[in-house]
């Protein structure tokens, strides 16, 4: 964007205010370099296209084969993208990742979304980065550290209310009124999340047992230990057999086997 005089800027703002939503949308598209690429007005190295999205090579890549996966529709930030499109984009990125691993013989791929300026989002058009990786390439050099149990639960307590609201999880009424508690003393334990019929639920007894947590949710389970042991019945042998089967079916064992 070239620098404007004050007068020009005022005129510009006036113009924007007077635009209808559709006009504004058109205007955004014209300003967006990626919309121009999608429209074919700017040349690009396209590697995949369908009716909802397009994948091109990044011209300033992190590594050879760095792919940008973009929805054809213009969405500036992730919350604007409809759920179905996010789902579609993620599935496409899976297949593209498979291709990149195969043709470039990478030992991994990073699927990365930058959501917001503070997160490193550079363009005003939502996109997924698909970066071929190899050990020691020093891209996205994150370092993980251990946090205490207390800290985990603090985070959980801070987020749980909002998360439940966003997920549409109905929080059960506090303590007393929970219908026939299956057994024991833990009255709350039964209905923590959505009704989970057959599955012996792993309660989240870990959630905010500490009285310091403000959550009034019965998500706060006071009792930790006894519950989980009920889960153990899941026969480990079966799971191992299933795992083996899965491994046989997989064509990307090279990567999977690196973990052994």
């Amino acid at each position: 964007m070239a620098e404007m005089t004050e007068e020009q800027r005022k005129a510009y703002e006036e113009k924007l205010k007077n635009m209808s939503p559709e006009e504004l949308k058109q205007f955004q598209k014209q300003q967006c370099i990626f919309c121009q690429i999608i429209a074919g007005k700017i040349p690009s190295k396209k590697v995949y296209e369908d009716d909802k999205c397009i994948a091109v090579l990044d011209i300033n890549p992190a590594a050879k084969g760095h792919v940008l996966l973009l929805p054809k529709e213009h969405y500036a930030i992730m919350p604007q993208v409809p759920e179905k499109e996010i789902a579609h984009l993620t599935v496409v990125s899976k297949y593209l990742s498979q291709i990149v691993l195969k043709v470039l013989r990478a030992s991994g791929t990073s699927i990365f979304i930058a959501n917001g300026f503070a997160a490193g989002q550079k363009a005003q058009h939502f996109m997924i980065h698909l970066i071929p990786r190899k050990e020691g390439d020093n891209l996205l050099p994150i370092q993980e550290k251990l946090i205490t149990r207390e800290m985990q639960e603090k985070v959980a307590g801070a987020v749980i209310n909002r998360l439940n609201a966003v997920l549409g999880v109905k929080t059960p009424p506090p303590k007393e009124t929970i219908a026939p508690p299956p057994a024991e003393d833990k009255e709350e334990s039964a209905i923590e999340e959505k009704p989970q019929p057959p599955h012996p639920p792993i309660k989240s007894p870990t959630l905010a047992p500490t009285p310091s947590q403000p959550s009034s949710q019965p998500a706060s389970q006071p009792m930790p230990p006894p519950e989980k042991k009920k889960k153990k019945p899941a026969p480990e042998e079966e799971e191992e057999a299933e795992e083996d089967q899965r491994k046989e079916n997989v064509s990307l064992d090279d990567i999977a086997n690196l973990f052994k």
């Binding site: 890549p61 991994g108 996205l140």
Partner: protein, 180 residues
């Protein structure tokens, strides 16, 4: 040796569990990039992204989007990164597919970035060709396309063949004359 996430699914209490249903779990792990990081993973064991069935992957991704929104609003973050470390080369530590949602604030100096490079034209071209060749083979991912064939046209052809035998191409006129 059991996978750590599978152990959590089975009931080991190493992580704080935020949500679970029959297919997925959302947890706060102990080994993280920054406090506030939340992890989503399918209960069923899939080592890497490519092994995850489409339906489960779609579910995980929409949940990741929702977790991201929840983080924005409850932790006061300025942004979020959504990251899949797919494979050892990408820094995957646990051999079980997962999506990380990482809260960001300005100037937090988290190294979730990379130096952009200028590759030689040759390199770019070869990468383009190789990936595009395979990319073009991907058809109908997650979409249902209906094919409609133009059957009316096929019906007209036999008529033309028959009429031509008469040596006259004015079959249309003839058909008009036949009309009552």
């Amino acid at each position: 040796m059991k996978c750590e996430y599978c152990e959590i699914v089975e009931g080991m209490e190493k992580y704080a569990v935020l949500f679970q249903d029959e297919q997925v779990m959302i947890v706060v792990k102990d080994l993280i990039v920054t406090p506030g990081q939340i992890t989503i993973f399918p209960k069923e064991h899939f080592t890497i992204l490519e092994m995850v069935p489409d339906a489960i992957l779609e579910k995980c991704s929409t949940l990741a989007n929702k977790v991201s929104m929840a983080i924005f609003e409850s932790l006061g973050s300025h942004g979020t990164n959504i990251l899949i470390q797919n494979g050892l080369g990408a820094g995957q530590k646990v051999p079980h597919f997962a999506i990380e949602v990482i809260p960001r604030i300005e100037n937090d100096n988290l190294p979730l970035q990379w130096p952009p490079k200028q590759l030689m034209d040759d390199d770019m071209d070869t990468a383009h060709l190789m990936i595009k060749q395979e990319g073009d083979k991907l058809i109908g991912i997650g979409t249902k396309k209906e094919k409609k064939e133009a059957t009316p046209e096929k019906k007209e052809e036999p008529k033309k063949v028959v009429e031509d035998k008469d040596g006259k191409k004015n079959y249309l006129l003839k058909s008009i004359k036949r009309l009552p």
